[in-house]
Symmetry: C4
Subunit: 193 residues, 4 copies
């Protein structure tokens, strides 16, 4: 629900920052990676992940969308909670995490506190295909400057379609009419899929 | 609880927009229909539906109140969740959805990904009477410029009274005193119903 | 958590208003009593009650603190939910509700839709003592311009002490030092109680 | 999630204040200690603790971070809820609470309404080591002007490491390179721990 927070930097610590938006001070947990990227300037902005539980609402903040993307992939693995994911992104650079997963480097993943051999293997098993996508896009899983094709593909994926299947249908649509808008590509794809 | 969000459009994608209100960026899921209606201008406003679950708070946004009204009717049907409802409103125009329900057109409803024959029939069974109301009102289920009668009727319905029954009582009251205010119509109706 | 909302009146209907604070539009359920008191001006303010449930966050709004006080007393009675409480405050004036409870007038309470004989009796049984307090204070259960004694008494009551018992102790403290501040009255009372 | 609230003081009572931020009035429960420290000026700021439960969201406010720190330690003890913790901080000064715990003074703790002998002993058992830390730091558990060492130690503790163990590793790192930045201290410590 909360995509990002932009406001006045009140406190900056290696594990959390406090950002004030219109009088409301938000306590945002961060990784060491994000700590190193957040400037000491007055106005800052971080991408956020809101964790809602029965007895708590907790915010996690990221200087880059791609780090948040990796964080969300990690916590989707059973046995990896938000603290362990934050720990991974504090012990290793985001790129080191994705490369370790892509290259099935169990030892590097297991070197992180709180991650045993089993969890490390599960991380690789669950995420190997997915991180290749994140590795491929420099800035962001779905970047703004994407072609119509990429935007349509990402939308179809969010709507629950398999990316490879959707890719074939989108290719055919673009072959017939390379000038199709994002909207019409999706409309036609929804009919064909 | 959150009726609408008005702020700066930060991101616009076929399946979501990010709107910033005073430094807080809201991630709002949208349908393709709403995507086609949201202008690329800086300031935008969408009607919202806040879905609260034990482990998440999710916002859905709509360019028109009537689309939100249909979305809320759809998710009231057991077996139709927010993703399926959003899918319906991405595959079909809102008016196509209401007309398919009103005319008991199972095939059109079933053509939407994630909706089988049984769910399609349940959608028609549960919503047929209700969508006729939405079809009748161009802009909004309860529009601002309604006559006192319509406003009183809508209020009595929200207070839990059957619309047809309440309608008879309201008619009698207006016959006795056509100049009655909304408030007095409701007061008297509450006493008679 | 949300004590009141002050902002731009976007919509005003007999059963709800929409108030916008900095781009966020809040949907606030109201009674007919509050509807009659809310001016049609641009800027409005209502006292609020936030109902948190596992699957919803719902706001109720009141033009007067005393109406909210009565609403909260009503929903503390088992069998009386927020809709029934709002119905009572739409069918009867707040003062009519408190007087019916104080005078054990079952018939009047039972005249409200959704309230049977048993619930009406339970309302009287549970609330009779409490509403006498609300009846006694014109504006508010705990008003700003209270004497130190009343403020201290209200604080001790919120801290969990019985009002009558706390009253005796506070009387003694004030007898010894009529000039005691609110704070010192409470401090000494906490030691004696 | 909500670290502090800064806005217009609308109401100030011994047990609660109402602070308005941009039209949203927040009801914040406070202790008598905080009541005595909050100025009667228009603009105020309090550190907050947001308690999230299935059926309520409740805010507690503190004039000092150290009082909030003690409050959070107290509610971490089984049998001590937010009301009892607030009661303790209304009956005793924060420093009296920490000293009573540090000096195992059961009688003083038991003098607080709602705390029996067993709970008093559990408070001491659970918190004795932790309050010594709070006693040691005048203003704040993790203060801004901390040395790199203290900031790194606090970060490592939040990341789940034992403070004493982490302390030894940090000492070694600083011996080798007294000029290490907070970030590099933590990075190296994460590798060694």
């Amino acid at each position: 629900m909360i995509h990002h927070l932009k406001g006045q930097l009140i406190e900056k610590n290696p594990t959390y920052v406090v950002i004030e938006c219109n009088g409301i001070g938000y306590y945002i947990n961060i990784s060491l990676h994000t700590f190193s990227l957040i400037p000491d300037s007055e106005a800052v902005s971080v991408y956020t992940h809101l964790q809602v539980k029965e007895d708590s609402h907790t915010l996690y903040g990221f200087a880059e969308k791609s780090e948040r993307e990796i964080f969300r992939l990690l916590i989707s693995v059973s046995g990896v909670g938000t603290s362990t994911a934050r720990m991974m992104l504090s012990s290793l650079q985001p790129r080191e995490v994705t490369e370790a997963i892509a290259s099935e480097d169990v030892a590097t993943i297991q070197s992180v506190k709180g991650i045993g051999a089993k969890t490390a293997q599960r991380v690789i098993l669950d995420l190997k295909d997915k991180v290749l996508k994140v590795l491929g896009d420099d800035e962001v899983f779905v970047s703004q400057s994407n072609t119509n094709k990429e935007e349509a593909l990402s939308a179809l994926e969010i709507l629950g379609y398999n990316r490879r299947q959707a890719g074939k249908v989108v290719e055919k649509i673009l072959k017939e009419d390379p000038e199709s808008t994002v909207e019409s590509i999706i409309k036609m794809a929804l009919k064909k899929l």
